[in-house]
Amino acid sequence: MRLKSRHLLGIEPMSAEEITLILDAAESFSEISQREIKKVPTLRGKTVVNLFMEPSTRTRTSFELAEKRLSADSLNFAASASSLVKGETLIDTARNIEAMAPDFIVMRHSMAGAPHFLARHCRSSIINAGDGSHEHPTQALLDAFTIRQKKGRLAGLRVAIIGDILHSRVVRSNVFLLKKLGADVVLAAPPTLMPMGVEKFGVQATNAMDEALRGADVIMMLRIQMERQGKGYFPSVREYFNLFGLTEERARMAKPDAIIMHPGPINRGVEIASSVADGPYSVILDQVTNGVAVRMAVLYLLAGETSDENPAEERPGH
């Protein structure tokens, strides 16, 4: 089986089978990252451009590492979207990059739909590394991989996602993925940070954090951007943490073996207490580790290799 599209623009257009295919492939790549020589020749001779038009450290380094471990030639192209708006347009930037004939463009952009726009105008495979408040598909895939690793399955689990739902691309991709794979999702946020019509996703929405936590197998906390304070979204960090911060006491409302996730970077004392972030049920650093394997799997599958062969069986180090 192969992926239907040569782009990874979002989770929404994918089938459950395709998602499972990526997660299964990531298992093999996860093993590579534990070897002494963490490199396979899978993408030798392929070029990947990391086009990051919004600041990002962890997603970019995770992709970069995935590319290097697959022996691809990768280069980073960083530009702020706002300077591009004033000067060169996205389409001209894309054409310039295309002229160098890359096989993949990994794109991060502050505006929703930018990678879809790029996909219409480029021959390369486009991988969405986060577009505005829309999708962040590899984040959802690494989250799913981590849940599966810890819980053995996704179907039937109750996943509570808490925080700035309105502006979060992580939420949208996670909701699409978790629903496709049969998990129950509950979203919790103050009404000012809850977008309209989320029930149509087939999820439960609440303004009461405790209600979301009750019986949860997975607690996924979202980063709160400090700039939102005082802009009408919430009056103060203090009140936000009182109502929606994850404390040890609150975490106990979930199932005893519930895992705690966060896409990072975390704001200690804003959305999550340090004792929880560093506690025994936190899998936040496993998410980071798994991100590399999942991104390797995505690149490998988009490169169109047949999935009959187990990539981990290839000889490392070439």
Binding site: V85, L90, M111, P195, K200
Partner: protein, 426 residues
């Protein structure tokens, strides 16, 4: 030169005419309508059997971009687009560069139109100087030079006090005040309708309440001042209901709807094509259906395209940064025939009214009638002809339409302005 239009189905709602008649045009005016006028009566004879002959269509809301943005459109190309789209008159909005807030700009538009436009061009003056929403423009001078209404279209008049004074002052000249209803404090950088689709696509929303809040304000101000209010491009169920209730109370209010708002919904934004981005945005299917009901029951007086040309490089960008607006002159009539007539929302006679006499009435133009002696402005269209929208064939300088490739039933075939055939696809 005399022109004879034979065997067409003449529909003139202003005179309750709907029958097969011959129409004779002489010296730029309608000189006679009869069951049979001999071919020898005119130098040029058109056989229009199977087609509809109607008073010339009026698009009361277009942006011709001249002066200032001639790369998007000019009075000449916009006029050609209008003629090709079956219109014989257009009213152009004031948001040019410089703004039409001064008689010299009005003079320029009118002289350019006389020189280059195949259709009649009626300027709309600005409500406030520079569209800044602060000081009123010189309505008296604008009126004297040919402006037929005032509007800051593109920008809402944020101050209720300024809007009140505009409605009061315009009363003196019997000019309508055309309001672009959008509470700017509720927009918050929105680029599409706020609802499930904006959540789904991760784009910032413009909620229906922003439009409705300002319509409510403007209706109350029209009621208190006795001024004549025209609400531009109503797009929400609540907006239609507000106008319906105001009309029932006897407020002097009219409104228009655009073809895109009675045809498309925010589902069209999927795929992030910036040609689906306009203000007000494409709304929900409930809103779209409410627009159709408003057209059906007469709450919506007129159809106007809000023709807003933009260069392709301006639209070929990320959705968030693309300018608002789409072209509409060359698709408006076909969309109306397909969505309103073929689907039974309105009768053919009411359709003609929506596109001719009604907008003429709102702007106080002596247009929209085929009465003997009237200006020979005539639109000929086919109810049956099937077309596929092909933006590459537009006369407009711009191609920013979401309707490319759409199959529609009904098409404008001929436009006659002042007795002169300015467009014919017969």
């Amino acid at each position: 030169m005399r022109i004879l239009l034979k065997n067409g189905r003449v529909i003139d709602p202003s005179r309750r005419v709907d029958e097969t008649l011959d129409v004779l045009v002489e010296e730029g005016r309608i000189s006679g309508l009869d069951v049979s006028i001999p071919r020898s009566a005119a130098e040029t004879v058109y056989d229009l059997a199977g087609l509809v002959v109607a008073p010339g269509f009026v698009d009361m809301h277009v942006h011709l971009r001249e002066p200032g943005r001639e790369d998007k459109e000019t009075i000449e190309t916009g006029g050609q687009a209008a003629a090709a789209g079956g219109f014989t008159s257009v009213a152009c909005m004031a948001n040019t560069h410089p703004v039409n807030d001064d008689q010299s700009v009005t003079d320029f538009i009118i002289s350019q139109a006389r020189r280059a436009s195949p259709v009649n061009v009626y300027p709309i003056g600005a409500i406030t100087k520079g569209l800044k929403g602060q000081e009123l423009s010189e309505f008296g001078d604008l009126r004297a030079r040919g402006c037929v209404g005032v509007s800051d279209d593109g920008e809402p008049v944020a101050s209720g006090f300024v809007m009140r004074k505009a409605l009061e002052y315009a009363r003196m000249f019997d000019m309508p005040v055309l309001s672009h209803p959008e509470d700017p404090t509720l927009c918050n950088g929105g680029v599409m309708n706020e609802g499930f689709m904006s959540t789904f696509l991760g784009l910032k929303g413009l909620h229906a309440a922003a439009e409705e809040a300002m319509i409510f304000r403007d209706i109350r101000l029209a009621e208190m001042t006795g001024g004549r209010l025209h609400v531009l491009h109503v797009s929400t169920a609540g907006a239609v209901q507000l106008v319906r209730e105001a009309k029932a109370r006897g407020v002097r209010v009219t409104c228009e709807a655009t073809p895109h708002h009675f045809t498309l919904t925010d589902e069209a934004v999927k795929g992030y094509d910036a040609n689906t981005k306009m203000k007000p945005p494409l709304r929900s299917s409930e809103d779209r259906d409410a627009i159709l009901r408003g057209v059906e029951d007469g709450t919506i007086d007129a159809i106007a395209s809000d023709h807003a040309p933009h260069c392709s490089e301006e639209k070929q960008v990320e959705y968030d940064v693309a300018p608002f607006g789409i072209v509409g002159l060359e698709t408006s009539v076909s969309l109306g025939l397909d969505r309103l007539v073929a689907r039974g929302v309105v009768s053919l006679s009411r359709f003609v009214d929506l596109y001719s006499a009604a907008p003429a009435r709102i702007l106080g133009l002596k247009k929209g009638t085929l009465a003997p002696g009237a200006d020979a402005d005539i639109t000929v269209f086919s109810q049956e002809k099937e077309i596929v929208v092909d933006p590459s064939r537009f006369r407009s300088k711009s191609r920013n339409t979401p309707f490319g490739g759409m199959k529609l039933r009904g098409a404008p075939l001929m436009a006659i302005v002042g007795g002169k055939v300015v467009h014919s696809a017969l």
